[in-house]
């Protein structure tokens, strides 16, 4: 109670209120303006800069790209903008393959995450109370530790002289170490491992809402547990499956760290290509063009799908 009191009675507060009144601004406008301006400047404006630099040329200078306006030899102002970078993206198969392989890797990883996450979510949703909270906490707990270190943990696990290979050799199952690190397989594991909680939580939220009486009714009408699962539980949990899959697929598709640490040199993902273009080649304009194409090919469809899903959720 006193916080509000002290604030509204303070001199700066009253001064601001008075000045705003003079300018014809209401408190309401100010409240809207703070988040609006922040996001306009630091979220929306960067995309225009991105678009503009994607039309520039890389040069060796600071900053490493040509300006949009330049003095022509005759002294007139000319606009330097070319679609050269985009033509380059289309012609070089590397970029096309990177986009396609990002989608493939994210999709496969999402399916694995669903197959591993569903039984866990189902089990937790059906568990009695003290156990349920503990299990749920155990699912979330890894998320609060560092993402980078969790990926790092798998490096130690998958190496040729890592934990898995050492165990298998000492058990006599294999003679020579398997190559697991620096493969697409390692990238799948990394993505599934990192984003599994995002799959489990929406599924769990959906499955706890499932009315137990429906399952009883189904078995009462003569359905076996298997049939009940496939005809009742699975169709009803579809919204949870969609929500969870989106939460895994979306961050996976632009992933950089996982392919960089666990993938091989031939593991192409678009986030990694953009990173290398920027940090290794120092070609800012091409990196910008890659980002613009990614916005239209990957981000825009996802946002469109999400808005459809939200609208359906409202009904």
């Amino acid at each position: 109670m006193s916080a509000g009191n002290a604030l509204t009675r303070s001199v700066p507060w009253r001064g601001t209120a008075w000045a705003m009144g003079k300018l014809g601004l209401s408190g309401r406008t100010l409240v809207i303006a703070i988040p609006m301006l922040w996001l306009l400047v630091f979220f929306l404006a960067p995309f225009f800069v991105l678009g503009r630099i994607s039309l520039a040329e890389a040069i060796i200078a600071r900053p490493p790209f040509t300006p949009l306006f330049d003095r022509a030899p005759d002294g007139s102002l000319e606009i330097i903008a070319s679609l050269e970078n985009f033509r380059f993206l289309i012609e070089d198969a590397l970029y096309r393959n990177a986009y396609l392989s990002s989608i493939r890797i994210a999709l496969v990883a999402t399916i694995f995450a669903l197959l591993i996450g569903y039984p866990i979510a189902y089990y937790i949703a059906r568990a009695p109370e003290p156990r349920r909270t503990i299990l749920l906490l155990m699912v979330i707990l890894p998320f609060w530790t560092s993402f980078l270190l969790r990926v790092y943990a798998w490096m130690g696990f998958l190496r040729s002289n890592g934990v898995i290979n050492n165990t298998l050799i000492s058990l006599g199952i294999i003679d020579a170490p398997l190559r697991m690190l620096q493969t697409d397989f390692a990238v799948y594991i990394g993505i599934v491992y990192t984003y599994l909680p995002f799959m489990i939580l929406p599924l769990y939220a959906n499955l706890t809402k499932l009315d137990g009486a429906l399952l009883e009714a189904s078995s009462d009408l003569g359905a076996s547990p298997m049939v009940t699962f496939f005809t009742i539980t699975l169709p009803l949990s579809l919204p949870g499956i969609v929500a969870g899959s989106m939460l895994v697929f979306i961050p996976a598709i632009g992933e950089y760290v996982i392919p960089a640490l666990l993938g091989g040199p031939d593991t192409l993902m678009i986030g990694r290509v953009l990173w290398d273009e920027f940090f290794s080649s120092r070609d800012w304009p091409v990196a910008s063009a890659v980002a613009i194409v990614m916005l239209f090919l990957v981000v825009a469809p996802i946002m469109w799908l999400q808005s459809i899903q939200n609208r359906r959720g409202m009904d």
């Binding site: 988040p35 996001l39 050492n166």
Partner: protein, 267 residues
């Protein structure tokens, strides 16, 4: 899904989740430099970690960045959520709705690159921000963390009985008073959760920070990444163990506080 299949699948799932973490912790006490071959118990890597100025310095940078980003993200995110749930009509409503949630689906590489280009262009034309460092990382983290705070705050504000705010108006409080006396205290638990999430996300971020940071300001994930890129190194295991220990303690304390609050509620 009956009998042995379900418990078995769940057990395997949890082994999958925890085995890497357990091995990380175990091998942090390994004497050998070869991270995965046991060479006897030792705490030497913890000692080396504590002598590593680079790691300690970057940890301090990360903590500062996370603290300020979480604070700013709570302010921006809460105001955005409040405006969207309580003001029905204003110009730019649709734009704000889009801008506040879009960072959630934006790949980090795009957010990072586009913000860096903005900072560079601003420096060229406005002279601010001069160079890149703590400030630019905080701005970048605030922008993407605010989206998460806004989602949490928005769902709490929607659940909240709006007649609470009307009742306060009815009893003679102006709009600003109502916000500080009623709205804010009621949504505080959600804001605390949002703050913690923003803090964690900021501490955890590598990609965006790599783009927008400058020479003098490396965050902890940036330093770890440059180390592990060259291969496994035992002092990173020690660092991971310390972080896991902190998280575990924090969770235990939070759990204990929650149980105490629940027990009080029942009396």
């Amino acid at each position: 899904m009956r009998g042995w299949f379900l418990p078995m699948a769940v057990a395997l799932g949890f082994i999958f989740l925890y085995a890497p973490i357990v091995s990380l912790v175990v091998f942090s006490f390994n004497e050998s430099r070869l991270v995965t071959v046991w060479g006897g118990f030792s705490t030497r890597w913890y000692g080396e970690l504590l002598r590593d100025r680079q790691i300690l310095g970057s940890a301090w940078v990360s903590l500062q960045v996370a603290f300020w980003s979480a604070n700013l993200a709570v302010i921006v995110g809460t105001l955005g959520a409040f405006v969207l749930t309580r003001f029905n009509r204003f110009t730019g409503r649709l734009l704000l709705t889009g801008m506040i949630t879009a960072p959630l689906v934006m790949p980090e590489v795009i957010t990072g690159l586009s913000l860096l280009l903005l900072f560079v262009s601003m420096e060229l034309t406005l002279g601010w921000p001069a160079g890149r460092g703590l400030t630019t990382i905080v701005i970048a983290h605030t922008t993407f963390c605010a989206a998460f705070v806004a989602v949490i705050a928005q769902s709490r504000l929607r659940q909240m009985d709006e007649s609470l705010e009307e009742a306060a108006r009815d009893l003679g409080a102006g709009p600003v008073r109502v916000f500080f006396d009623i709205t804010l205290p009621v949504i505080t638990p959600a804001l605390v959760a949002g703050w913690l999430l923003a803090f964690t996300l900021s501490l955890d971020d590598l990609v965006i920070a790599s783009f927008v940071s400058g020479p003098g300001a490396s965050t902890l994930p940036m330093v770890i990444f440059s180390k592990v890129r060259l291969g496994v190194s035992p002092d990173v295991n020690a660092l991971a163990t310390i972080i896991i220990g902190f998280v575990l303690i924090a969770v235990l304390i939070a759990g204990w506080l929650m149980r105490r609050a629940l027990r009080r509620g029942f009396q």
